[in-house]
């Protein structure tokens, strides 16, 4: 029999106390990643586990006029079942397109964000939606923007004695959202990627618009600093504007990342173009 112990704290304070004393413990939210990753799976027998199973505090959802605060332990299945005015439709789209249906009843939002695995990936959406994470450790709370949560080629910015408790998503900021998961696969690799587009449109004018690109099994996103270009643009957007914007986007992208596969480049281009095209025609 393995000598690992399972600790089931009943409130967050207890949990943070345990975490402070035993930062080597494994935090068990949904377990979908731990169970599918063979290396971590081997580790389960040798490490103590803190199960978040009984932490009702992390299972709550608060909604105010301006934001929704989702407990990190909320399962994705539960989020999908809630109405659109509580959980943004874009997040539901992201869940539907990236998480397999059976796993949704176990996978949690917090777990998904902290693991940043290639199967479960909602971070791009949260990052572009300006979500904020409430991260607690004993005696202190800090807030972190989702887009700063992961550095390029780095692990999530969360210490071993910290716990991601809540995810705060601003509401009513974007009234137009697009999210798409695109499969790229050639003989060497399979690299799904995500393109997102958020816009806030008032009286046929773009107040704000943001576009992004994220690769699921590489820990980086690409959000060019081109948001300002969209501001104040009247809809429908002109073809010329879209073209020049896309050119600059791709230029920045090519500078940042060495992508030379023509198929991947093509798929990125055409998918971004299709998002722009939808935006262009929105009024």
């Amino acid at each position: 029999m393995a000598d690992s112990r399972i600790l089931i704290p009943l409130n967050v304070v207890d949990l943070l106390t345990i975490l402070k004393k035993r930062p080597d413990c494994m935090i068990w939210a949904g377990g979908t990643y731990s169970q599918t990753n063979p290396i971590i799976r081997l580790d389960i027998a040798n490490r103590d586990i803190i199960s978040l199973q009984r932490l009702e505090e992390l299972n709550r959802i608060y909604r105010t006029d301006r934001l929704v605060e989702i407990g990190a332990r909320c399962t994705l299945e539960r989020l999908l079942k809630l109405e659109d005015h509580v959980v943004p439709a874009g997040l539901k789209l992201a869940i539907l397109s990236s998480v397999p249906a059976p796993a949704r009843s176990l996978a949690t939002l917090g777990g998904n964000v902290c693991i940043h695995d290639q199967i479960l990936n909602l971070l791009p959406w949260l990052a572009i939606a300006d979500a904020r994470f409430e991260i607690r450790k004993q005696g202190s709370v800090r807030y972190c923007m989702a887009r700063h949560f992961i550095e390029p080629d780095d692990f999530p910015k969360i210490d071993a004695n910290e716990l991601l408790c809540k995810i705060r998503i601003p509401l009513n900021r974007w009234n137009f959202q697009q999210f798409r998961r695109i499969e790229f696969q050639n003989e060497h690799q399979k690299l799904p990627f995500y393109v997102c587009n958020f816009a806030s449109i008032h009286k046929e004018t773009l107040d704000d618009c943001r576009m992004g690109l994220a690769f699921s099994n590489q820990k980086y996103f690409f959000f060019p600093r081109l948001d300002a270009d969209f501001q104040g643009q009247r809809l429908p957007l002109s073809k010329k504007f879209c073209k020049s914007w896309l050119d600059r986007f791709l230029e920045q992208f090519k500078q940042g990342y060495e992508v030379d596969d023509p198929q991947l480049l093509y798929q990125i281009t055409i998918s971004l173009e299709s998002l722009l095209d939808k935006l262009r025609k929105t009024d």
């Binding site: 199973q53 397999p100 249906a101 059976p102 796993a103 009843s105």
Partner: protein, 161 residues
């Protein structure tokens, strides 16, 4: 650690390791052979069981989460009266699952029928795994679930229930 749970209305107390999955326990220890381990990654839904009225993939769920849970598998479900609704719906619609996936499809249907949210074709569609057994079409499954819903509603309205 020791877990205490209810499987098909029978209480079990088991001493388990942290890494043991529910799938392993149910198949190997408790003889629930209707559950299949196929993808072992929560993709296909062949190992679905009902835990506290919710369909979960047993290949991903560690057994320590079973503490005080109510687990139902097709072995127990098939002896309940509610099973007749699903069975009838499957037989009346063109939906004829192969026996490999039939148990998991029954479990999925039952969990959908028990869920509180309204059942529509799009909500059923959302719950269908992407790696779906190829014995049938999704649309047939959706039709079967909707019919099962009607049958169950009718049965519950009947005075002798």
């Amino acid at each position: 650690m020791r877990v205490n749970f209810l499987l098909n209305d029978e209480r079990y107390i088991l001493d388990i390791d942290a890494e043991t999955t529910i799938l392993a326990i149910l198949r190997k220890e408790l003889g629930q052979k209707s559950i299949h381990a196929a993808c072992s990654g929560g993709q296909c839904g062949s190992c679905l069981i009902l835990v506290n009225n919710q369909a979960v993939p047993s290949c991903l769920m560690p057994a320590f989460l079973l503490r005080d849970a109510t687990v139902e598998t097709i072995e127990g479900l098939s002896s309940q009266t509610g099973f007749a609704d699903i069975e009838k719906a499957f037989l009346k619609t063109p939906y004829t699952p192969c026996a490999y996936c039939a148990p998991s499809k029954v479990i999925l249907t039952e969990s959908l029928l028990r869920s509180e949210s309204p059942l529509t074709s799009s909500s059923i569609g959302m719950s269908i795994p992407k790696h779906w057994c190829n014995c049938n079409q999704e649309s047939d499954f959706i039709a079967a679930v909707l019919m099962a819903k009607d049958l169950r509603k009718k049965r519950e309205l009947r005075p002798n229930g």
